[in-house]
């Protein structure tokens, strides 16, 4: 099914409506954020500091306690959503699924009047959709995803994040859609993005070929990304060790995200993408 197929778009529309209902926003930017700013929804009090807006001083409190206290409101801003979609060859078996997830998130973002920017990620960063905004860009966005293909060699997440930061200075919500099976690790890349004050959300996509080893015996193992080969004899013990290594790797990702307050959702092609998005929305959106 094409991404521009009406049936597929109707599924995306349903997700957007759910997002509206769950997140409750209706104006220029509906996405909730942890940052405080000049919105209309009360968030907290804070002591007045030089430079704060006089209009936000709560004069009633000043009358009672003679101290300048300002009201803080939730920031409703024109947020930028960056979708970093892993387009390395290791994603080949689940690339359609990853793009469906990206389509759903991007569609919601564009309909919520957020700015959306999409990159393909492998050994280097490849732009898929330049920053854009508004519902009118949705079809173009879906077309771009449709045309997106896997490329490059071994995924270098750290390099990609540096490249991304070099291209996009503006802070935003960075959603990384990947299997996170990066030989060089993911910690450095996430740390780098977070250090540049991006909000981060990791959407891990793995299928059974990543998680399990159902073949045994003498094999020539070939890396789908680099073409590197190795002759092995895989016994049940080795198969179990591999599966344990994948579990440990994923646990490491979970711990890393938890430690850095990064949102994480793990899924696979066996779960429909809209069910995944619904679950994310019900948990309160892409906020960690």
């Amino acid at each position: 099914m094409l991404f521009t197929d009406p049936v597929f778009i109707r599924r995306l529309e349903s997700l957007y409506l759910l997002a509206r209902k769950v997140l409750g926003g209706s104006l220029q930017a509906d996405r909730k954020t942890t940052r405080k700013g000049a919105g209309i929804t009360f968030a907290d009090y804070a002591e007045y500091r030089l430079g704060d807006d006089f209009r936000s001083i709560d004069w009633r409190i000043y009358a009672k306690f003679e101290s300048l206290i300002i009201k803080l409101f939730e920031l409703e801003e024109d947020a930028t959503i960056y979708l970093l979609v892993d387009a390395s060859r290791s994603m080949k078996s689940k690339f359609r699924y990853a793009r469906e997830l990206a389509a759903a998130l991007g569609y919601i973002a564009l309909n919520s009047l957020d700015r959306l920017c999409v990159y393909g990620m492998a050994d280097t960063l490849r732009p898929v959709l330049d920053p854009c905004r508004g519902r009118g860009k949705a079809m173009g966005f879906l077309q771009s995803l449709e045309e997106m293909e896997t490329f490059g060699g071994d995924t270098d997440f750290t390099t990609c994040t540096r490249e991304f930061q070099a291209r996009r200075k503006r802070k935003g919500l960075v959603i990384v859609i990947s299997d996170f099976l990066f030989p060089e690790g993911f910690d450095a890349g996430l740390k780098y993005l977070q250090w540049h004050r991006h909000d981060l959300f990791c959407l891990q996509v793995q299928d059974d070929t990543d998680r399990k080893c159902d073949w045994k015996g003498d094999v020539t193992l070939e890396c789908v990304e680099t073409g590197q080969t190795r002759r092995l004899t895989v016994s049940p013990a080795e198969a179990r060790a591999y599966e344990a290594a994948v579990v440990a790797w994923n646990d490491e990702l979970k711990q890393c995200c938890a430690r850095r307050s990064i949102g994480l959702a793990s899924t696979g092609p066996e779960i429909p993408f809209d069910a995944v998005i619904q679950e994310i929305l019900r948990r309160g959106g892409l906020v960690a």
Binding site: D218, E222, Y242
Partner: protein
């Protein structure tokens, strides 16, 4: 080492393509992975086994090559003996002593086991035949290469009660048919006469080891002149030390009533013969039984079955005018041994003179004259100067000197066709002959006993006795004991008569229409129901060579023989083991 089918060694050349195919076969499948670095991590901990993994393919190929080579050598049929591959005749001793228990089985079972091993070693490469020997040689298979056929032939060989007849082996060894092209292999315990003098062509393969045994090796029981029964016996022992036991003499017709218990101290070897008299002992069936302290290795020779026949005189009627000398002759045997009895009614034998018109079944005719069924014609008197005895051992004349008789009154006579002339004149005129007609028998004595004064001769009653007992079929009284393999006389036999013989098992019966029956094959009492009434005969082993089971002095003389499975068999087993080992590796490569 030699090969029976060396052409198969060329198949070793197939190792080269096998190796090529093998190397192609073990090329591993290609598997793509998205987490190559994780596999690297898993296998970086297993470097210790990497050397073995590298060697494994070579080892697996080596195992395959060895298995293939083993199969090729198996097909080439290697042989490690210099045997000339002559046809082999396996002769298994099935005489009585082979039934001796030794270890867990009998000697015959041990012999059959050895024969099976020899057949297995032949592996179809050599022709062999299976025979058994006891009282005679019996072939159970033809010369065959088929192990199955040979093994089946071995299986059908069973124990027998026959003592070994060494003359059978002698004739086998001297039979030109089994010449240079054959090997005759006798598998035997060596417990038979003449084992040390077997023909050179027979290779002796010793079965079994010395077994302690005591047996009755001779026994006889007969009526004494004083009316008592004389019991003669002899025992032999193969125990190295003297053993004690009892010999029980039982009367089988009285429910095994014990008439005599004889304590024995039996020395090693054949003991002295002993004789006992039993007063007031009845005739009938008797059993002598050895009862040993601790038992022995062979049961069949612990018993001897014997019979003492009831006194049954031949009934003789004198049907001549001048009866005196004839009756006196009959009465002489009636009074003495009771062999004949003079009767007027229901005679078995009738003595006549002249034309012999009496209608008795058996007739002794003197002075033939006129017409008679017992001759075709009678002519003029002749002078007999030198009578010739033609059948010296015939029962009618064996106890007299027929050549010394005076055949006065002898006439030209033509006996019926088929008559047996025992004595004839120098001119060929029958003087004494035996003839039969329509189931009836006669002895014709071509002389006038009065004119020749033969009635005054001592030979006269002897001739009457010989003719009467012969015509009655009772010239030989049954012996007390017969051995298995012997032929026993049929009491009361007359040409054309039949008798029913009941074997010792009591159920099997045979119809016998001969003067003898046999060979006796079983131990025990045979029952005979025939023209002369009911009789019994005892069949006992009573053979010292079958009882003396110490064969320590006997040694195997057989040349080199392969036994057990052939080299080809073991090569195939090796190949299978190698293939199993390789398949373990292959399985590991295939499914880890």
């Amino acid at each position: 080492m030699s090969f029976l089918a060396p052409a198969f060694l060329w198949s070793l050349l197939a190792l080269l393509p096998l190796a090529a195919v093998y190397l192609l076969k073990v090329r591993p499948r290609k598997k793509a992975t998205t987490a190559f670095f994780l596999w690297d991590r898993v296998f970086s901990e297993k470097r210790a086994t990497s050397l073995f993994q590298r060697l494994r393919d070579a080892l697996s190929l080596l195992l395959m090559a060895l298995a293939f080579a083993a199969l090729a050598f198996a097909l080439a049929r290697p042989e490690f003996t210099d045997d000339e591959r002559k046809d082999l005749v396996l002769v298994i001793d099935r005489s009585a002593s082979m039934a001796a228990e030794e270890g867990t089985g009998t000697r015959l079972e041990a012999a059959k086991k050895a024969a099976r091993q020899i057949v297995a070693a032949l592996d179809g490469n050599q022709r062999a035949a299976v025979a058994s020997v006891g009282n005679e040689l019996t072939f159970h298979s033809h010369l065959s290469r088929s192990p199955r056929e040979l093994l089946d032939a071995i299986d059908v060989i069973e124990e027998s009660a026959f003592p070994m007849r060494s003359e059978v082996l002698q004739s086998l060894g001297e039979d030109a048919h089994w010449g240079e092209d054959h090997r005759l292999l006798l598998l035997s315990d060596g417990s038979f006469e003449g084992v040390e003098a077997l023909p050179e062509s027979i290779e002796f393969y010793k079965i079994g080891s010395p077994v302690g045994n005591v047996g009755i090796v001779a026994a006889d029981l007969r009526r004494q002149p004083d009316g008592s029964l004389g019991f003669f016996y002899r025992v032999a022992s193969s125990f190295p030390e003297p053993v004690n036991g009892d010999l029980l003499l039982k009367h089988a017709d009285e429910g095994d009533r014990i008439y005599k218990l004889i304590p024995l101290e039996i020395a090693p070897g054949v003991n002295e013969a002993e004789v006992f008299s039993l007063a007031d002992a009845p005739a009938g069936r008797w059993v002598a039984e050895l009862d040993l302290e601790g038992g022995d290795g062979f049961a069949s020779d612990d018993l001897a079955w014997m019979t003492v026949p009831e006194a049954r005189p031949v009934r003789v009627k004198v049907a001549t005018a001048d009866r005196f000398f004839f009756e006196t002759s009959v009465l002489a045997f009636q009074r003495g041994s009771g062999l004949l009895s003079l009767v007027e009614e229901d005679p078995e034998i009738t003595i006549e003179k002249g034309a012999a018109t009496d209608s008795g079944d058996a007739v002794v005719v003197f002075t033939p004259a006129g017409e008679s069924p017992w001759w075709d014609s009678v002519g003029e008197e002749i002078d007999v100067l030198l009578p010739r005895v033609l059948v010296e051992d015939h029962p009618v004349i064996r106890l007299l000197d027929a050549s010394a008789l005076v055949f006065a009154g002898a006439r030209e006579i033509t006996p019926p066709a088929g008559s047996l002339v025992l004595v004839e004149s120098e001119s060929g005129v029958p003087l004494i002959y035996r003839t039969t007609r329509e189931g009836r028998g006669a002895v014709v004595v071509n002389l006038d006993p009065v004119a020749s004064e033969f009635v005054l001769s001592a030979w006269f009653p002897v001739l009457i006795h010989g003719a009467a007992t012969h015509l009655a079929g009772r010239e030989d009284e049954p012996a007390a004991v017969y051995r298995p393999g012997d032929r026993a006389p049929m009491p009361g036999y007359r040409e054309g008569s039949t008798a029913t013989v009941t074997l010792p098992d009591g159920t099997t019966t045979l119809e016998v229409s001969d003067a003898e029956f046999g060979p006796l094959a079983a131990l025990g009492f045979y029952g005979i129901e025939g023209r002369a009434g009911a009789w019994s005969m005892g069949s006992s082993l009573v053979t010292k060579t079958e009882s003396l089971l110490d064969n320590a002095a006997v040694t195997t003389t057989a040349g080199p023989l392969s036994r057990g499975q052939s080299p080809s068999y073991w090569l195939i087993v090796l190949a299978l083991l190698l293939l199993v080992a390789e398949s373990v590796f292959y399985h590991r490569r295939k499914v880890g």
